[in-house]
């Protein structure tokens, strides 16, 4: 293998009954990278992870590990280890025996096991926890033991299935940083699964956005955020106003009844497109200076900024500003060329990016949903 690919997924498809969970997935995973499968619940990301781990067999396609087809290899013979969502620590064994479990399977000497366990506990900041019962540990500590247990056997690839979902926000942020540090220090490949876009963006080298069993986009966090490929990605990653538009010519887009300068080119003349504008990229100006104008229908203080819903020609935009504007007032709007992102029409066009039904409460409700069945 010329490049540094460690795992290659070739045409992976999987059905549960009649439901297509994965549809012809192709992906190269580089050695030592932190790659994240990101998508809503039911998008197939966990199924993909379980196929790599060997708990599930794909209906068709191959998992190639360093050039060798391991599709038929049982889990205990693969050089990958998993951090499970609910940790799956062995309740009848103490911390030491949990971490030693994989090492004993390799018939290591007790002296070496003891050394390795100590080293692993130091790595996850749990020095001296050897004799503790699993039941006496907090969620965060159990998480750390699970990480130590998986890393003790020195896997080439670590699979992490929503490992932080059960932790509270503060702890989750700390663990994000810590996991990233561990990955860098050990120099092994992490394949991380999450539905939390913020988590994906802040930790990954590469993000794979999935929906409905298909890869929507592969790229660095910046690429995914700044250059989303379609309306699904734009909506799923961060907040987006997604508008119907027309490319009049290279660098010239028309939407919301006005013509804007942009940096995109290569579209056909008068091609219909989706336009993405991030809420933080909109400049509020006095009405007479605005390229377009709108009426504020709601305004919520978020701490760092105000989050306004603005009606512009019956399309509800989300706009974030640091200045306060009262509800009901009319504002002018200006958009810089580099704030406009133009996307080809896709099957997701028109499904996302309008904030007419938006409310904070709805947002939270859908979050809870995802966490429950994730």
């Amino acid at each position: 293998m010329a490049d540094n690919t460690i795992i290659e997924l070739r045409g992976i498809s999987k059905k549960f009954g009649d439901e297509v969970v994965l549809n012809n997935l192709n992906l190269n995973i580089k050695d030592k990278e932190f790659i994240t499968f990101l998508g809503p619940s039911g998008c197939g990301k966990t199924t993909m992870l379980r196929i790599i781990a060997g708990f599930l067999e794909a209906d068709s396609g191959q998992v190639i590990f360093e050039g060798k087809d391991i599709s038929a290899l049982p889990p205990h013979k693969r050089q990958v280890n998993t951090i499970f969502q609910r940790y799956q620590l062995f309740p009848h064994l103490n911390v030491y025996e949990n971490i030693a479990f994989g090492l004993r399977n390799r018939r290591m000497k007790e002296k070496d096991i003891s050394k390795k366990v100590e080293e692993m506990l130091a790595l996850v900041n749990l020095k001296g926890f050897q004799r503790r019962d699993i039941g006496s540990l907090s969620g965060g500590q159990q998480q750390r033991v699970a990480i130590a247990r998986a890393l003790a056997v020195e896997p080439r690839v670590l699979l992490l299935d929503e490992p932080l979902a059960a932790l509270d926000l503060k702890l989750r942020k700390d663990m994000q940083v810590e996991l990233k540090n561990i990955q860098k220090r050990l120099g092994i490949t992490f394949i991380f699964v999450t539905h939390d876009q913020q988590e994906a963006l802040s930790m990954s080298d590469t993000v794979v956005v999935m929906n409905e069993g298909e890869i929507q986009q592969i790229g660095t966090p910046q690429d995914i955020y700044n250059e989303p490929k379609n309306a699904f990605v734009a909506d799923f990653i961060g907040e987006s106003n997604i508008l119907d538009g027309v490319m009049l010519d290279d660098f010239k887009a028309k939407f919301s009844g006005a013509v804007f300068q942009c940096l995109d080119k290569g579209f056909a003349v008068n091609e219909s497109v989706d336009i993405v504008i991030r809420p933080e990229d909109v400049d509020v100006v006095p009405v007479e200076k605005g390229e377009i104008t709108g009426v504020i229908t709601s305004n919520t203080f978020k701490g760092v900024h105000f989050e306004m819903i603005v009606d512009i020609q019956n399309f509800k935009w989300m706009i974030q500003t640091t200045d306060y504007y009262p509800v009901g007032s009319t504002i002018g709007i200006e958009i810089e060329p580099d704030a406009i992102h133009v996307m080809k029409k896709s099957k997701y066009s028109g499904m996302f990016g309008d904030y007419s039904t938006f409310s904070d409460e709805m947002d939270h409700l859908s979050d809870i949903d995802e966490e429950e069945d994730a």
Partner: protein, 275 residues
């Protein structure tokens, strides 16, 4: 809302009264009877007589133990398969396990006797096939068979209950860490199902050791178990006092066996789970 101690006591009152009348008081009587003679005078004679029956006791314990181990060996794989099957299959299998229990133990044992007799159904079949007869009735094997046959559901139920609660993710995690099937069985499934084994062991061992009907019908008069011995004291020998002291010994034996089993399950959390 927290229950006050008083209301909690009130709620448990019906059972406490029940237990007092039907458990505690009879136990006191058993102890009392075992310490008096036929004329009601205090004596150690009944207790001193116990060693005379040690052969019968050891025999009872041994047969009960063998029957329990056989039940365990049959039930364990079955319970594992049941716990992993689909809900429909689980229901059907559970039904099949419970089915014999819908019939009375006496009838079940009597049918077994008819099957195993020298002129019974099995030997009639063997005869029809021109094979030599098998002598099965009135052997230890027949008694053990009767015990296993009658009490095996009590082994399957607790095992099934604990295995269906076992998180399959733990087994996956063990495989993930390089354990093969045998290691998973030895290091994960077996230790985690210990409470079920202990509870099934107790629930088969105790009635097997104290049975009298099974040994009478399937063992004939060739050998008696401790249960038979007690029955004889009360029904034909009219020696209530010796019967009481033998019952006391049986209770102590059973308590010891439970204690041993609990020791195996460790002293933590859900040890000694019943069904």
């Amino acid at each position: 809302m927290k229950n006050s101690p008083l209301s909690r006591r009130l709620i448990s009152a019906p059972y406490l009264i029940w237990a007092a009348i039907f458990i505690v008081v009879p136990l006191i009587f058993v102890v009392y009877y075992s310490l008096i003679d036929a004329n009601g005078a205090f004596t150690w004679e009944n207790i001193k007589a116990i060693p005379d029956y040690s052969d019968i006791m050891l025999n009872s314990i041994w047969l009960g133990f063998v029957a329990t181990i056989i039940s365990l060996l049959i039930s364990y794989p079955l319970a594992y398969i049941m716990a992993r099957a689909t809900k429909n299959v689980q229901r059907t299998m559970m039904m099949l396990v419970m089915l014999p229990m819908w019939m009375n133990l006496l009838i079940r044992t009597y049918s077994l006797m008819i099957l195993l007799q020298d002129t019974g159904i099995i030997n009639a079949l063997l005869g029809a096939l021109h094979l030599s007869n098998l002598h099965m009735i009135n052997t230890r094997g027949a008694v053990i068979l009767g015990m296993v046959y009658n009490y095996i559901p009590y082994m399957i139920l607790p095992l099934y209950s604990i295995m269906s609660k076992m998180d399959y993710g733990l087994i996956e995690a063990a495989h993930d860490l390089g354990a093969n099937k045998l290691t998973v069985l030895r290091k994960i499934i077996l230790p985690l199902s210990m409470p079920g084994i202990a509870s099934g062991f107790t629930m088969v061992f105790v009635p097997s050791v104290s049975t009298f009907y099974i040994s009478k019908k399937l063992g004939g008069s060739t050998f008696a178990l401790i249960g038979d011995l007690i029955e004889i004291q009360f029904k034909s020998a009219n020696n209530y006092n010796l019967g009481a002291s033998l019952s006391l010994v049986l209770m102590v034996l059973i308590l010891i066996s439970i204690a041993i089993m609990n020791h195996f399950t460790g002293d933590d959390d859900d040890g000694g789970v019943l069904i």
